[in-house]
């Protein structure tokens, strides 16, 4: 057995990562846009307004920001490539670097554009709010506090001329902007708007985050449910597939492992003779664990026989477990045993192994219940399929046996009897010759019976047959040619009447072979030397009619009534009861009717017999 021991694929956690990544990418994008605006906007503002922003420091800030942002972008790509988790240490460091860069750039810009008197105060506000929004809540809090403190400090230091005051020519008169009231008022409004906005937007963001997370959870959940349904559906559809027994079980194991997100899955099937559960398929478990031995359903988990789930929460402590050491070695903590029942019969168990104590939800249980039912039916079907395959082999062997092993010796006996009857090995008395001929007749009839049996067997057991329009004119000509020699040997006049227009019947040629072989060989056989046999084909309305008429010994009314009823009856002595054998006529009728045809017979003992076949025109 091959055990698949790769780690189970995780079903959740993808969408959370997507959201976090998108936020950071937006941060970088916004910074590039900002750089373009500031870099391109500064000379424009200086040219077309009375504002006079110091361009050199602004470009230096822009260069710093561009280098920083480029570095951040590169680092983010690297992290995303190498780190699978959304909250790794590398990404945390990245976040702090980003905030530090923003803090430095904003502080410098604030200073060079005029501090509290800056014309760009609304922009700084907007920037801080945006950064705050894009940050996780703790970073957002520190960043806002940090920014508020820095900007306030710069404004105040500028006001007391503690740092070299840069005041680009402004709309605000110098008198106003140097008044203490103005600075305090601006800072008050600035701080108030900043904190209130961040608080409100932060709240909104938290809620939005929450909605996004629950939405993505919901989506995962739906997808998961969908996958489960798909598996059930597939198993249901699978009932007619030709997937072999073991591939089908392996498929079930792998799918359940994935959809239930467990360490391993195994399927045990009941060996009724030994009353034990034998492992037949598994995945995610080591060979060592799998070779632990059979499970005895009555000793360990009698509930499962009654169709109940059995959950072993702690494999180390549960007394019902047969191989606790093996389970511990394998790292298994919990085992859920689900019964497999096909048509209310317990056939085995599906087992799920986890490495942690697992709360199986109501949905999990419902899924496993539906799945186990479907899987059991699927397993039963696969078993039936395997069984049928074996039956086919037996059937083919049977056909070979009849056609060769039985007929070959009969043919040899027939040859030797003929040698005796012909007196090649010395003269026989009359009685001896009669007995030899009777033996020969009986062997003939056994061979005919076996041929008929073989035909019937093959006919019944063949699959779908392609029906084609067969030209009856052509077909009967061929048949007449085939039987010409046999008829000639008995000096029988074999005639064939064909219509001028070709008549077609929808059939397989083989069907016609069986029908005609039976009827025509009987007609010749039961007609005395010098008699006549006629094949007469014509159309009657929408029917094709074939009459097979002989001037033979005929059939008595009593036998005629049941001529199509019997199967292959034991051949009675030929001379006494010629039609008693009813050789294959019930089979002939069956074939004719399967092609929507009809067969009837009329006979006058001593005068002759007439079989009439009618088929719909093709």
């Amino acid at each position: 057995m091959r055990a698949d021991s790769s780690p189970p694929p995780s079903a959740a956690g993808v969408s959370g990562r997507e959201v976090v990544t998108a936020k950071r990418k937006w941060g970088i994008r916004l910074r590039w846009i900002l750089l373009a605006i500031v870099g391109g906007g500064t000379p424009l503002i200086n040219a077309f307004s009375i504002l006079n922003i110091p361009e050199i420091p602004i470009y230096q800030i822009c260069a710093l920001l561009a280098a920083g942002n480029g570095g951040l972008q590169y680092a983010l790509q690297r992290i995303l490539r190498t780190e699978p988790l959304a909250d790794s240490d590398a990404i945390k460091k990245w976040d702090i670097t980003q905030l530090a860069l923003d803090w430095a750039a904003v502080s410098l810009m604030f200073h060079y554009t005029g501090g509290a008197a800056s014309f760009f105060l609304p922009y700084f506000l907007l920037h801080m709010i945006l950064i705050g929004v894009l940050q996780p809540s703790r970073n957002r809090f520190y960043y806002i506090i940090g920014m508020a403190l820095t900007t306030n400090a710069i404004a105040l230091l500028k006001f007391i001329d503690a740092i070299w005051p840069v005041y680009p020519a402004s709309f605000i008169p110098q008198r106003v902007r140097e008044a203490p009231g103005f600075v305090l008022l601006v800072l008050f409004f600035f701080d108030a708007v900043l904190f209130i906005s961040v608080l409100i937007v932060g709240r909104l963001m938290n809620r939005l985050n929450h909605i996004i997370v629950s939405f993505s959870e919901f989506r995962d959940h739906l997808e998961h449910a969908n996958q489960r349904l798909e598996l059930l559906n597939q198993l249901a559809k699978d009932t007619t597939s030709t997937l072999g027994f073991h591939p089908r079980l392996r498929f079930i194991c792998r799918q359940v492992r994935k959809l239930m997100n467990v360490k391993g899955v195994a399927i045990y099937l009941l060996d009724e003779a030994a009353n034990q559960l034998d492992l037949v398929s598994a995945c995610g478990l080591s060979d060592q664990y799998l070779s632990k031995g059979p499970v005895h359903p009555d000793r360990s988990i009698p509930e499962i026989r009654r169709g109940c789930f059995h959950y072993i929460e702690d494999a180390a402590k549960d007394a019902s477990l047969e191989y606790p050491e093996a389970a511990m070695k394998e790292g298994i903590v919990s085992i859920l045993a689900v019964p497999l029942q096909a048509r209310d019969k317990f056939i085995g168990s599906l087992r799920l192994y986890t490495v942690e104590k697992r709360e199986f939800t109501k949905e999990d249980n419902e899924f496993l219940l539906a799945l186990s039912g479907q899987a059991a039916v699927s397993i039963e079907n696969a078993r039936i399929y395997e069984f049928q395959k074996k039956q086919d082999e037996i059937k083919n062997e049977f056909i070979r046996l009849i056609s060769h092993e039985i007929k070959a010796p009969l043919m040899a006996i027939q040859g030797i009897l003929e040698v005796m009857a012909k007196a090649y090995v010395g003269p026989l008395t009359d009685k001896q010759r009669e007995l030899v001929e009777r033996m020969s007749d009986r062997i003939d009839s056994i061979m005919e019976t076996s041929t008929g049996l073989l035909d019937m067997y093959q006919w019944e057991s063949r699959g779908r047959v392609e029906l084609t329009p067969v030209s009856m004119n052509e077909y009967l000509s061929k048949a007449a040619t085939m039987y010409a020699e046999i008829a000639q040997n008995k000096n029988i006049d074999l005639k064939i009447h064909l219509p001028e227009t070709e008549l077609f019947v929808r059939s397989a040629e083989w069907d016609l072979d069986i029908v005609l072989n039976n009827l025509l060989s009987n007609a010749i056989k039961y007609t005395e030397n010098g008699g006549r046999v006629l094949l007469d084909l014509y159309a009657l309305e929408d029917k094709v009619i074939l009459r097979i008429v002989d001037t033979g010994i005929g059939i008595r009314a009593k036998e005629l009534a049941q001529i199509f009823d019997g199967r292959f009856r034991a051949p009675a002595a030929k001379k006494k009861d010629p039609y008693g054998r009813g050789m294959g006529l019930s089979f002939v009728k069956k074939i004719v009717e399967s092609r929507k045809g009809k067969i009837s017979v009329k006979s006058v003992p001593g005068k002759g017999t007439e079989f009439v076949l009618s088929f719909p025109k093709a």
Binding site: A408, A412, E418, Y424, M482, W510, L516, N517
Partner: protein, 136 residues
């Protein structure tokens, strides 16, 4: 002229025995072989005038293969000397009209001069052999 020599190749010794007695009683010399390999040896050693062989012997297609070997049109074939010996093939194919062999139609597939279907009647076998030897 000496009695025509017939080689009968079939894996059923009882059938061969019956045919042998009947043929000898009708004035033929008879050699027998149980399988294709032995048949080839007998062909080389005894130079028969006609070969009667079964389609299926030890392996299902042995008769086919033997006849194909003997009738190989390749001028370098080592059996070239025997290509002229007529073959009468016994076929065990059940009587089905659409499965009848004919020497014309199946020349490549089964290059033999004539067929006779099992179960065989000794009289028709003898008639056929006589007919084939006359025309050949």
């Amino acid at each position: 002229m000496a009695d025509p020599k017939i080689l009968v190749i079939d894996d059923d010794p009882d059938l061969v025995e019956g045919i042998k007695i009947a043929l000898e009683a009708n004035g033929f010399q008879v050699e027998t072989a149980e399988n294709g390999t032995e048949g080839l040896e007998k062909i080389k050693a005894a130079a028969p005038d006609l070969i009667v062989m079964d389609v299926m012997m030890d392996t299902i297609t042995e008769g086919f293969q033997l006849s194909q070997k003997l009738k190989n049109p390749d001028p370098k074939s080592e059996y070239k000397a025997y290509a002229q010996i007529p073959i009468l093939m016994l076929t065990g194919i059940p009587q089905k009209m659409n499965m009848t062999f004919s020497p014309e139609k199946d020349e490549d597939f089964l290059p033999v001069e004539a067929f006779i279907e099992k179960p065989i009647k000794l009289d028709s076998l003898i008639d056929k052999i006589k007919q084939m030897l006359q025309t050949g």
